[in-house]
């Protein structure tokens, strides 16, 4: 459960006691060659665990590496170091046939409803593809697709239509249907609601919550918006420049953040109540976090130190390790 405790199960441990997903010291570097090897990695030693039925939220700003982590888990991006274990099995280097084997249990919902469905294929063909790959006969796959569409609140007739005939929110529900059609255990939702308007965003969030409760799913919910994450997640992992800053129960991290970056992130997220927002603004201004604009990324030490009001010499030389502060794990020398 805790971030710090690495996988220390005995070889004989049964599958039931394995966490759903265990990410250990994951490192991802983009590009090849000497330049890439010396640059700051996009993901820099990230570890976390998702238990059965648990939803973990991965929050961070652009460039924090949150989507890269999702891609590495799904095999869409090669990991440069560390391991990803799915139900105890190392899938870091899984090849397509291995992916096909676990692909029914580990699935994804992506951000952009416009590009996540092939515009030239019917909804039915898109939904059935994952079943057909696994040898399910066409008529059965079609029936399953119809059932699944109904489950996400769309008419069964939608199987014969094309994505362009649906709105963004409906398409995102179709994406959810495609993810769930082969009864997965873990779904990676990469900014799954960010492109949607408020009212449709709420529809999809509710749907994800319902399906989780009904099917006992685990989610890795990746988003830049901490309020959206806290609706769905039991635990939240906060990233900054590829490193975990803070992780812990959703309520603790969002209501009582310990890391200066998390504090800045929470205070900067505006609320639609003018009086409360004025208070938040005052809090944010009192934090003294420096602007992101003037800061260049330099490797070594704490990645947040140049913006951090608490930073000292120590922060430039020594990368803080995650340690327990209250209910959460915090990577800060001074939290």
């Amino acid at each position: 459960m805790s971030i710090e405790t690495p996988l220390r199960q005995d070889a004989g441990t049964t599958v039931q006691h394995q966490p759903m997903l265990q990410v250990q010291d994951l490192v991802v570097r983009y590009g090849r060659g000497r330049k890439a090897a010396t640059a700051q990695p996009a993901v820099d030693g990230v570890s976390f665990t998702i238990q059965r039925g648990e939803t973990v939220g991965l929050v961070g700003e652009s460039g924090s590496g949150k989507s890269t982590i999702g891609k590495a888990i799904l095999g869409l991006q090669k990991a440069s170091g560390g391991t990803v274990a799915f139900q105890g099995e190392d899938i870091t280097e899984a090849n397509p046939s291995k992916r096909r084997a676990i692909g029914s249990e580990l699935r994804a919902v992506f951000q952009d409803p416009n590009s996540s469905l092939n515009p030239r294929k019917t909804i039915g063909a898109s939904l059935a593809e994952s079943l057909r790959v696994r040898g399910v006969p066409a008529p059965e796959a079609r029936t399953k697709a119809e059932d699944m569409l109904e489950r996400v609140g769309l008419p069964r007739e939608a199987v014969d239509r094309y994505p362009s005939q649906f709105s963004g929110g409906q398409r995102q529900r179709i994406s959810v249907a495609r993810a769930l059609i082969c009864e997965p255990k873990l779904v990676v939702c990469d900014e799954a609601v960010s492109a949607l308007d408020l009212s449709t965003q709420a529809q999809v969030l509710n749907l994800l919550a319902d399906l989780r409760d009904e099917l006992g799913l685990s989610y890795l919910f990746i988003a830049h918006d901490i309020s959206v994450v806290q609706f769905l997640a039991q635990r939240v992992v906060v990233l900054y420049r590829g490193q975990v800053m803070e992780s812990g129960p959703a309520a603790a991290v969002t209501e009582n953040p310990k890391h200066p970056f998390t504090q800045a992130l929470v205070a900067a997220s505006p609320v639609p109540r003018p009086a409360e927002q004025a208070e938040r603004r005052a809090v944010r201004e009192s934090l003294g976090v420096r602007t992101a604009a003037a800061v260049a990324a330099t490797p070594g030490g704490c990645p947040f130190r140049q913006r951090c009001p608490l930073a000292t010499e120590l922060c430039a030389t020594e990368r803080p390790v995650l340690r327990r502060v209250g209910e959460a794990d915090v990577a800060c020398h001074y939290a």
Partner: protein
């Protein structure tokens, strides 16, 4: 998100057209249709030529050498008295067929290379190198050398030409193949465990089909021309077999005594090439390209006439004009040719205040904002109402009139700061040339002012930033630069179109603070377009909530957000996870069923009724903006008072909506269904 609304309307039209056979697009274009007919006629005529040709290709009629068109020889005869018509069609089949070899080889190889390159970066590196070499070869010279080696084996030569051409095809296809390969549905297929080959065949190749057809048509034309050119310089099929190029060559020998000879073969060749090009162009025409941000001269002239007519028709009602006050009265904006995008929008912005235009996408916020500056995208125009500024009606102003207002009185900042700055010029050039233009400063004074402005918007190393190009700075920094650019003419009103949507929240907070202090320091006013109710709470004094092209509720920010009266505002607040903190986060968020209707589907009654929990039969008639109970706000809902009195809140529908009405059903039908549901 600029022209959100027309973009969606246009894209639906495009998508539905796409699902049909691409042939429809071909038939829709007169040139494409004519081309198809000509090519088809050529193919049929050439294939059947042996049966209908009036003469054999080698029949010599010495009574009519070098004759013009006659009853016997419709297209005349050549220097040996051979019938031109027969010779043209006798050689047509082979000419067309061998050109097709170039198409098959060139487009086939090019497509395969593009698919392979899109699939792996390593393959792309190798293939791109090879094709770069191929592209920098003098193709014609190589082909001639090949002819030297293998003789005039036309099919083989045309095949090798195809290989040379494939490099160009690859270049054309690569970008598209890569963008298809980067689509999320390809990622989804990878997660499914599909192998790379299957992904290329099932998800990438179909997306290239239009380009393949277009390129095939164009390459077919190239093949025809090159083949004829080769025959012209003596490398055609072995004599006495006729060829188009060879016939033009022999005609050219007689241009002094029989110029007519040039005409028939030349025209047939040109028409065939023209047909192939026309087919390619008709199929390849982007059905609805993004709207231009600078309408063409023809459109601008038309606009100016319309503006003059509108100005003459509508007298200005504002009296007396208040300096720095913006009054929008009954503003309507629509697509040229009818569909309204914004109807009857009115609001005032007092100096030194911030008005928020808030709503979901497709509600007309951005169109309303852009109309204030006369910067609606081409194809969209103000269709009614007034925009009153300093005693002038900007809605009836010409582009020329607006040039005096833009930048100096009213300035714009937009959603994507990176795209809002010109990538080809330095920040310094863009900023100083705006200052020199808007404030009539000299070079040195403009530079000093630019440094001053950059510091004012919170940039610490202004001299360095002046020398950078937009791609060298971060999004937050670019938005600061864009704000500095907007301030360069000391405007009294700033139109901000989702200025923080593309930014990280911490950067958003910084930009909002900056805007707030600018308003305080300079006394300018702001029209802030946003979908984020939190941003409204943070910076706006007044709010106008927009839905489906109308203002449905307006008033002071505090009263609207704390005590909303319109069901849509109620629903938006209930659906917003930001409105709740972790400890009081509800099990389910409130939702609004369905989605914002397309402009063409707007009902005549309340436009929100189809999605409203409280709608009834009273909502079927048009609803005016009525005074709402609180303060000076107004609300467009017949039930607002009733709801406020009973203290009704928008409830979270606890059951997931099963079988919602699909998007295609017109809104009026949806209303029926909802009423049935409520009954």
């Amino acid at each position: 998100m600029i022209p959100t609304l027309p973009a969606t309307t246009l894209s639906t039209q495009r998508k539905s057209a796409l699902t049909k056979l691409s042939g429809h697009r071909l038939l829709a274009s007169p040139a494409g249709l004519a081309g198809t007919v000509w090519l088809a006629a050529m193919i049929i005529a050439s294939l059947t030529a042996p049966w209908w040709m009036p003469f054999k290709t080698e029949d010599q009629d010495f009574t009519a050498v070098l004759s013009g068109p006659t009853a016997a020889h419709w297209l005349g005869t050549d220097e040996l008295g051979r019938d031109i018509l027969s010779r043209i069609f006798a050689s047509a089949a082979e000419t067309l067929g061998t050109s097709f070899i170039t198409v098959m080889v060139g487009v086939g190889l090019g497509t395969l290379m593009a698919l392979a390159a899109a699939n792996s970066q390593r393959a792309e590196g190798v293939i791109s190198r090879v094709t770069e070499i191929m592209m920098s070869l003098p193709g014609t010279v190589i082909i001639l050398a090949v002819i030297g080696a293998v003789g005039t084996n036309i099919p083989l030569i045309m095949g090798i030409l195809g290989v040379l051409i494939s490099a160009g095809i690859y270049r054309v296809m690569l970008g598209q193949a890569k963008s298809l390969q980067n689509q999320l549905y390809v990622d989804a297929a990878k997660v499914d465990g599909l192998n790379p080959l299957a992904i290329s065949v099932r998800h990438v190749l179909p997306g290239l089909s239009t380009t393949i057809v277009v390129q095939s048509a164009l390459i077919f034309a190239v093949g025809l021309l090159i083949q004829a050119g080769l025959a012209f310089i003596g490398f055609g099929p072995p004599l006495p077999q006729p060829s188009w190029g060879g016939m033009i060559q022999s005609a050219s020998q007689h241009v002094y005594d029989a110029p007519w000879l040039m005409v028939p073969t030349g025209v047939v060749l040109a028409l065939t090439v023209l047909s192939a090009n026309a087919i390619g162009n008709a199929l390849g025409k982007a059905p609805n390209a993004t709207a231009s941000h600078l309408p063409s001269a023809a459109i601008r002239r038309k606009r100016a006439t319309q503006a003059a007519a509108a100005a003459a028709a509508a007298p200005i009602v504002q009296n007396p004009p208040v300096a720095g006050q913006l009054s929008v009265r009954g503003l309507s904006v629509g697509v040229d040719g009818g569909t309204p995008l914004v109807t009857d929008v009115s609001f005032d912005v007092e100096p030194g205040t911030v008005l928020g235009l808030v709503g979901e996408s497709g509600c007309g916020k951005t169109m309303t904002a852009l109309s204030l500056m006369g910067l609606l995208p081409s194809g969209v125009a103000v269709t009614g109402g007034q925009i009153l500024w300093n005693g002038k009606n900007l809605a009836a102003a010409t582009d020329k009139d607006m040039e005096a207002v833009r930048g100096r009185d009213i300035a714009l900042i937009s959603q994507e700061p990176m795209r809002a700055l010109d990538p080809m010029f330095t920040v310094g050039y863009q900023l100083t040339s705006a200052i020199r233009r808007l404030r009539s400063f000299g070079r040195a004074a403009a530079r000093a002012e630019a440094l001053d402005l950059l510091e004012k918007v919170g940039i610490v190393d202004a001299p360095r930033i002046l020398k950078t190009y937009p791609h060298q700075i971060s999004g937050g920094m670019a938005q600061r630069v864009a704000i500095a650019l907007a301030l360069s003419g000391k405007p009294r009103l700033l139109v901000a179109d989702e200025p923080t949507t593309a930014l990280d929240v911490t950067v958003q907070a910084e930009i909002l603070s900056l805007l707030r202090s600018l308003v305080k320091d300079t006394g300018m006013s702001v029209v802030m377009v946003t979908h984020d109710l939190g941003v409204v709470a943070d910076i706006c004094d007044q709010v106008a909530v927009m839905y489906a092209g109308q203002v449905v509720e307006n008033g002071a920010t505090d009263s609207i957000l704390d005590d909303p009266r319109h069901p849509y505002t109620l629903a938006l607040l209930a659906a917003d996870p930001h409105a709740n903190s972790a400890h009081d986060m509800p099990e389910r968020l409130a939702t609004i069923k369905g989605q914002v209707p397309q402009p063409k589907d707007w009902p005549s009654g309340c436009r929100f009724a189809a999605r409203c929990q409280f709608a009834g039969s009273a909502c079927e008639v048009p609803v005016p903006l009525l005074p709402s109970g609180s303060g000076e706000g107004r609300v467009r809902c017949v039930k607002a008072d009733e709801l406020a009195m009973e203290g009704l809140a928008w409830v979270a529908t606890d059951v997931p909506v099963v079988n919602p009405v699909p998007a295609e059903v017109p809104a009026r039908h949806r209303l029926d269904i909802i009423e049935k549901d409520m009954a």
